[in-house]
Subunit: 455 residues, 2 copies
């Protein structure tokens, strides 16, 4: 009945063998990472105590356009990639839109999200350097799960600091991460100095990604054969996640399609940065001009209400400084269910692109996002993660605009993951006990007051 299939899979051979580094095509680079004490730009070697060497190099490399994916990582990818590009026929029909809606679905692996793309790379490089363990933080739990799967595969010990709010909302994330052999600690915790300091200041805090990062970094630095890994924000993460966009572009080419509009949810930027990578190449080089829309939660609006400034990547103020859109490392986001988007900052690459006008951004309130999620679930059968549902909201908004104007645009969005571990959130939505939290200007000011003085 339909010419374009619902689902398009590449063959195993068509899965990218190289990642794409957007920075190699960016006309201007983001401002350098700074040492928070000296305010001097960091060298690659300065990162070695935190990240393993290969990842440190990737973090700083803005000239290599394509990076070979190690064979072991390619083999790992074969267990869950390619991911399908799906035509949302049922959603289109229900909306009555002339727009064509596609989504790249990254949820069909046990981490439930795109996070496994970068987890595989990081675990591989750490193992390859001879390390025995890594530490990390997790918000919604998808990153922690992804890393536990990758560490089980490559044979590394793992300690996960999970944001306390999410830990309590999602008790089964603990079980799954433990099943893959990792240790999981709710953050802030008393196991680290920075955790104890945060708890002393605010004993009832539900934590944040910023807190959990501080604890994970501290724990990694303390141990000889251990390093820290991070599932978003970083340049290396966007590099690994480019596999999403590269697969997507090849699949669309096979269908004779090119997106007019690309929509992704934005927390730290891992998915959005990966999804848009090869399309942004076209945009920067003037080959094509797709609109790119980031959708963030109204409760944690770093792009739409944040400042473009140097800030710490963590709440404990122990990481390097990055120039990014930020709400301030002291900003404590309300307990929104999209735990993966509760981060005060934003990828420096995406921040630069946003600042330079390549990306638009909107924000959405929690209940509005769940309206879109439940509608989508009933139409397309996939139960989306709260984070991913921000992208659904954005795509539906654009599709309805096409309905008004009669334009048959091609909309692509990233469906980053599934909501199987978010049922407490869906339960709240179903029971109509879900609330929206929007920070006041005073709330934001308190965050901005914590910005370091750099200039």
């Amino acid at each position: 009945m339909t010419k374009i299939p619902y689902k398009t899979y590449l063959t195993e051979d068509e899965v990218p063998k190289q990642w794409y580094n957007m920075r190699a095509d960016m006309k201007e680079q983001h401002d350098p990472f700074l040492n928070p004490e000296t305010l001097e730009p960091l060298s690659t070697e300065d990162l070695y105590p935190i990240f393993c060497e290969e990842l440190s190099k990737q973090e700083m490399d803005h000239t290599t356009r394509y990076v070979d994916i190690p064979e072991e990582v390619q083999e790992f990818y074969k267990m869950f990639r390619p991911s399908p590009l799906i035509r949302a026929y049922n959603l289109e029909k229900a909306l009555g839109t002339p727009a064509k809606i596609y989504y790249k679905f990254e949820g069909n692996n046990t981490s439930g999200s795109h996070k496994l793309n970068s987890a595989a790379a990081m675990a591989y490089y750490a193992k390859n350097q001879g390390l025995t363990s890594v530490t990390t933080e997790t918000g919604a739990g998808q990153w922690g799960t992804a890393l536990s799967i990758a560490c089980a595969h490559f044979g590394l010990d793992l300690t996960v600091f999970m944001v306390k709010t999410s830990y309590e909302q999602k008790p089964f994330r603990k079980s799954i991460i433990e099943t893959y052999g990792a240790k999981i600690i709710p953050s802030p915790s008393i196991t680290t100095e920075v955790g104890r300091a945060i708890l002393e200041k605010n004993p009832k805090t539900g934590g944040s990604l910023g807190c959990a990062i501080s604890e994970a970094v501290e724990q990694a630095i303390k141990q000889e054969q251990s390093r820290y890994v991070l599932g978003s924000v970083l340049n290396q993460v966007l590099l690994h996640q480019s596999v999403i966009g590269l697969e997507c572009k090849t699949a669309l080419e096979k269908l004779g399609e090119y997106p007019d509009i690309i929509v992704g949810c934005a927390g730290g930027g891992s998915n959005l940065g990966g999804l848009i990578a090869p399309f942004m190449q076209d945009k920067i080089t003037g080959k094509k001009n797709p609109r790119v829309i980031a959708v963030e939660p109204a409760s944690c609006p770093s792009l739409t209400r944040g400042k473009y400034a140097y800030d710490f990547c963590d709440t404990g103020r122990i990481t390097p400084l990055a120039k990014m859109y930020t709400l301030g490392s002291d900003f404590m986001p309300s307990p929104n269910h999209a735990g993966g988007l509760r981060y005060h900052g934003m990828s420096p690459i995406l921040s630069k692109l946003y600042n330079d006008g390549y990306i638009e951004a909107i924000s959405a309130e929690q209940t509005t996002v769940f309206d879109a999620a439940v509608k989508f679930a009933k139409l397309e059968q996939i139960l989306p993660a709260p984070e991913s549902s921000h992208a659904i909201y954005g795509a539906v908004k654009e599709a309805l605009r096409c309905k008004e104007t009669g334009e048959q645009k091609t909309i692509l969005f990233g469906l980053t993951g599934t909501g199987y571990f978010d049922m407490a959130a869906y339960n709240q939505y179903n029971n109509k006990t879900m609330n929206d939290y929007i920070p006041t200007d005073e709330d934001l000011q308190r965050g901005f007051d914590s910005l370091p003085k750099v200039d």
Copy 2:
């Protein structure tokens, strides 16, 4: 690095457009369903008060070899089919077996299992007949979720009676089923006569699939525009589920493979019957001779320790009688986590094939099955459902036998679903608080004593 890909997907056009009815090739049919009062064979029309007409016809039809899949169901299938056939390279390597292990993975849809194949068909036929609602039971919750998704799509009201043990073990199944707009009631409940009777006799019962079936049937019969649907055991279910085996066979043919051994978990028989269908055609007609192995829980061993006899399909003794391997409709299985396999009986088709020597059967204890599940998860990244893990256990056993004998056999097993809603079970396993329950001969005798006197 590998010639045969990890994952083989058919194209959308290659997904079967017809189901295959094994009965058309069986040399002997199973004994007819009987009216429990008159002990007379049932006619198709006798089923109309319980099942919708088209499904009643499918239930009785043993001559039509191929049944067209309605276009609406084909379209629905496109949202989640084809499912991948996966080569378990990492499992093979870890076992050090010369055997080639393939698995058909049916877990990549929101029901988390193969159940959506039959749910789509049943919801479609019910809607097409002009019904407004259906009722059903669910054990593990996969069938209830599948049917809620299908009913949301085709526009039917749904009431799900969920086995109380599972309902309590898996609180989030309720949330997901409600998200798709269905009503869910723990069984036995006070909403039906049969539920009240069961509770009066045994107030502390955790319920069983047999109880929940009684309640769902009673509720369906009471309402004019409602019918009952069932996710396993029935001939119609095996017909719909044949899509698994048909896809599988085509994919294997593309790879130049044919299975020497086929392994599936067995509760009511929905997955096993679907997986083996086209291979059993080869076996019955003498074209090929694969070994077929059913794996059931030691706690509910209908094939390995049951009787081949006429029995009720439910605990409340309101359904027709079916000739099948059964533990007796009064047999109350222990609270094993493989809720989908806690059924006293077995598909009449599979029972007949087992009795006639076409199928072998083994049973496995719960902790042994979880040993296999966790090993598999760490190697293949997919967290399997407890039910599916029975098949993993069986496949690993055969692969290790090949290691002993040095034979390079091709083993195919059905990975029916994911364990994302079974984390309480994994948690028990991780904490080493999981128990095995094996019924004593006296336990079984109590079940057998409840068998109706037919001859």
